[in-house]
Amino acid sequence: MAVTLPAVVEELLSEMAAAVRDGARISDEHLSSLKFVFGSSAIQALDLVDRESVTLISSPSGRRVYQVVGSSGKTYTCLASCHYCSCPAFAFSVLRKSDSLLCKHLLAIYLSQVMRSCQQLSVSDKQLTDLLLMEKTQEA
């Protein structure tokens, strides 16, 4: 995602990615930093990553979108280029109240990138259009 996160989060994620690259485990220190910044969303997002809930969907055009299966089994669509998730928590806590940086689904996307546990799926260009538009019908 080519979006700017606060520097402290960027640094934390890149340190975690470096640890994974070196074949090390993610340290308790990193996990508690994650908890400090994101609160209860951190645990929930890690849980989503553990359950391989994050899928990066791409089409031959090169356009991409993420889907995350939430804890309730509901699928949320997240844009790959900027912060947007179709879940209600994103609309309420992130957009309206601005008291969260990310919802757990967007955080799970970042964490799955760090831990290289993101599922991949290829679809047709037309199917990708429908996926991008589906958020609209989900809300209705």
């Binding site: 055009s61 090169g62 790959a80 900027c82 947007y84 179709s86 991008l132 958020e135 609209k136």
Partner: protein, 278 residues
Amino acid sequence: MAEALRRVLDAGSAARPEGDGASGPPLLLLGAPRSAQTSLLFAAALEAAGEGRGPVLFLTRRPLQSLPLNTPAAREPWRLQKIRFQYPSSVPELLQLLASAHEAPGPAPSLLLLDGLEDYLAEDSGTQEAAYLAALLLDTVAYFSHHHGASGSCGLVVALETQKEADSDVPHLTLLQRYFPAQCWLQPDALGLGQQYCLRASLASGPLSPRMEWSVTFLPSGEMKITPWPTQASKPCSDRKGSSARSQSLTLACDNLSGPQCPLDRTLTSGTGAESKT
């Protein structure tokens, strides 16, 4: 900011930077009136069309009745041919167009312009809907940029007509600012004389960037004259008409800087010509 718009505004000043394919952050054009916003977007379209980096996509709900500008560039057919006008008549149509942009044949645009965002936001104004539209605009532009690869990126300028600067009545303004870090405010200028229509354009490419200001004059002939906002006009002088409007605008410019002790003239020198490429 979308570089094309800044280059339009910079055309009046001596130091004119060369385009390097960078398009800058997504820009929200705010203020009034709508006709001036359309003219500026069209000028940005002509500017980008002249760069030879792919077509320009101009989206608006209301089809243009005539060319919004009568400048030399607007009379060059090869530029006009590179501007693709599309008129999505509803929010679903606009979303469909954006979401299926990767299915459209042909080269990826180098600039995406949306005129009259208020026409679309008025229709359904939920927080999530507005965010979805803004995010999908960014996603579409990111896809176009991905297509350009190393040869540059695709810029995005969205115009939203509002009545007052920083007015809390502007629906979803805070939300839109989240997606559009660069903003350009247009304010009618009290000193506009006779047939001329005068505006002050004030651009900040990010929440912490200094403002750059220009005076934009629309002549009865349909031409547009842009000059850097005169520095003496920004001094807190009381001998000219409209000084209250000016000092208000100055306060806002200062708010963008790090500290209240920041000297005013530094604001202005760094604001008029200096580049703040990020």
